[in-house]
């Protein structure tokens, strides 16, 4: 791992670590941080898929939902241990991602976007109609909190758990990026023709990263279900898939850090705009448009260029 990456990870870990003393016991801030972490888990996977392998998924809300419903249904209806339910969600998401990805990723172009769009809609209908298990449109309530060996994980410990997973999967992702696998993914994105001629199985890698990103989303879904203890299909609709894409694009697709930044900004933004009441959606849209107009590469790259320009101005003035 690069030194710079390590420092940022340590910074994030310390901010989360001292949050209980900073936040002064504020439940509201705590839940925002948890949601940032949960969204960040999904967008990291999406960043690997989009930014590195160049594939667009419009169905990640469905994998998020698969994780959430696996945890919810297995814990509520079958009293399964939460960890086992976690695993079941991961397995199911990986399997379905494999089945959806196998035929579509062999094709070049944006078939993936269309296929995942359809898949997301199908899962949305399944969550609604499979009411004996999912509770249908009125949702599934009474999901128990996470417990490990008799200790219930809630409040600050939940925050720590979510962000520990964010950091672990972040390190995992950075390691993948800086390896032969990451190079192969970038090669497929850069020139599929040349990647193939150098012995890279493009469809195999695309499939692999798609499954990996589905697993990240499923983990996020399970964490979500145990945190808010009530889930309904509305949280897993196409709108959420699009919001996830927005997070990645707004943050920046060049590096995985952009995805985390985007998840943070777009989780926080609606909370800030809440005071505007009727104008909330308007302001939200305007801000997104402004970001993409002035920083088409995303916030991360935009800010970096701003700093670079400042440096150049300073040098020009001989400072």
């Amino acid at each position: 791992m690069k030194k710079k990456d390590l420092y940022i990870i340590l910074l994030i870990a310390s901010v989360i670590g001292i949050f209980p003393w900073l936040g002064g016991g504020n439940e509201y801030f705590l839940s925002i941080l948890v949601f940032m972490g949960i969204n960040g888990l999904i967008t990291m996977g999406l960043s690997l898929l989009m930014g590195y392998a160049g594939q667009i998924s419009l169905g990640h809300a469905a994998f998020f939902g698969l994780g959430a419903y696996s945890s919810g249904v297995l814990a509520v209806k079958y009293s399964l241990h939460p960890l086992a339910a976690f695993g079941a969600g991961i397995f199911l998401s990986a399997l379905i991602a494999f089945l959806v990805g196998k035929p579509t990723l062999r094709l070049k172009g944006h078939y993936m976007a269309v296929a995942t769009l359809g898949f997301g809609e199908i899962m949305f209908i399944v969550f609604n109609e499979l009411s004996p298990l999912t509770g249908g449109p009125s949702g599934l309530s009474g999901i128990p909190p996470l417990t490990f060996g008799g200790i219930t994980i809630e409040g600050y410990t939940y925050l720590y758990l979510v962000w520990a997973l964010v950091i672990l999967l972040l390190i995992f992702s950075l390691n993948v990026i800086n390896s032969r696998v990451g190079r192969a993914l970038r090669a497929v994105h850069g020139s599929e023709l040349a990647a193939g001629a150098m012995g890279v199985d493009a469809s195999g890698y695309k499939l692999g990263v798609f499954v990996l990103s589905a697993v990240y989303a499923s983990i996020a879904g399970s964490l979500y279900a145990h945190f808010i203890t009530f889930i309904s299909p509305g949280s897993f609709s196409l709108m959420f898939s699009i919001l996830l894409l927005m997070m990645v694009v707004v943050g920046g697709t060049q590096t995985i850090w952009g995805a985390l930044l985007g998840a943070g900004v777009l989780t926080l933004l609606p909370e800030y705009l809440r005071g505007l009441e009727d104008f909330e959606v308007l302001a939200y849209g305007a801000i997104l448009m402004a970001v993409l107009l002035f920083m088409p590469q995303g916030i991360l790259e935009g800010v970096r260029r701003l700093f670079e320009r400042n440096e150049k101005v300073k040098q020009a003035h001989g400072e």
Binding site: S179, R180, S191, G196
Partner: protein, 258 residues
């Protein structure tokens, strides 16, 4: 003469009504430098794309060191030891020079998502080994000083050399070079012909598609001439230069384009 590395038999390729390759057969023997020449649109690049599996032939077979290539995907063919460069450069612009060559070592490594993500020992050793190997290929091309530069920020001549370095990193038995001299000046072309000779000295068989006749005639052991997808001549450079049909194809008997 050595063993047959590549054997092409009765190859046909049609794009709609256009016959791009028409009943073409030839053999490339081990250690040879074999050039394919012909006017623009003669089917030279199409031939390379067929051999490397980018699209399937309409009819005919390829055998590479005795194995049939028909039906194999490009990445399977690369694994067998057949590598290439591209006429219009296909470097990975999102990677630096060293990473481009390290990607060429892809088939000599095996770490998957988990080994890479957990940075297991085997993966780290593998990474170190191919980094050294990639640096060797870069110094073979005298590009080692540019290792950490973005691949597409190199001047054109060096980008061409980088593509060859990347192809050599796959440890090929047969290397297909598609117009490596296009866009190079005279000095760069002279150096390129020296480089191609040095590649052959490493025991790698070379197939060359090229328009620069002094390069082709200077280094080739055998030349094959294509015109409208058909073989019109095959033989030693000096015989090809005197072949009436070849001269006609290039200069145009009926005033066609040269």
């Amino acid at each position: 003469m050595g063993n047959e590395v590549l054997k092409v038999q009765d190859l046909q390729k049609s794009f709609g009504g256009l016959r791009a390759i028409d009943s073409l057969s030839f053999v490339v023997t081990e250690g040879q430098i074999k050039s394919i020449i012909g006017p623009n649109g003669a089917g030279k690049t199409t031939l390379f794309n067929l051999i490397t599996g980018i699209f399937p032939p309409t009819d005919g077979t390829f055998q590479f060191t005795g194995r049939t290539l028909n039906g194999l995907k490009p990445h399977d063919i690369a694994r067998l030891g057949l590598s290439r460069t591209f006429q219009n450069l296909e470097l990975f612009s999102n990677m630096n020079v060293l990473e481009n060559v390290m990607l060429g070592c892809h088939t000599q490594t095996s770490a998957g998502f988990f080994q890479a993500g957990l940075r297991l020992r085997a993966m780290r050793q593998e990474e170190k080994r191919i980094r050294e190997k990639a640096m060797e290929e870069l110094s073979f091309m005298e590009l080692e000083d540019k290792a950490l530069v973005g691949a597409t920020s190199l001047p054109l001549g060096e980008q061409k050399l980088l593509e060859i370095a990347r192809a050599l990193a796959t440890q090929p038995r047969l290397l297909l070079l598609d117009e490596p001299a296009a866009g190079l000046n005279i000095r760069e072309t002279e150096k390129l012909s020296e480089t191609i000779r040095r590649i052959r000295e490493r025991g790698i068989t070379v197939m060359l598609v090229e328009h620069d006749m002094s390069l082709v005639m200077g280094i080739s052991d055998e030349v094959l001439v294509l015109n409208y997808g058909k073989k019109i001549a095959e033989g030693l450079p000096r015989d090809i230069q005197r072949n009436r049909e070849v001269i006609a194809a290039y200069l145009g008997e009926e005033g066609e384009d040269a």
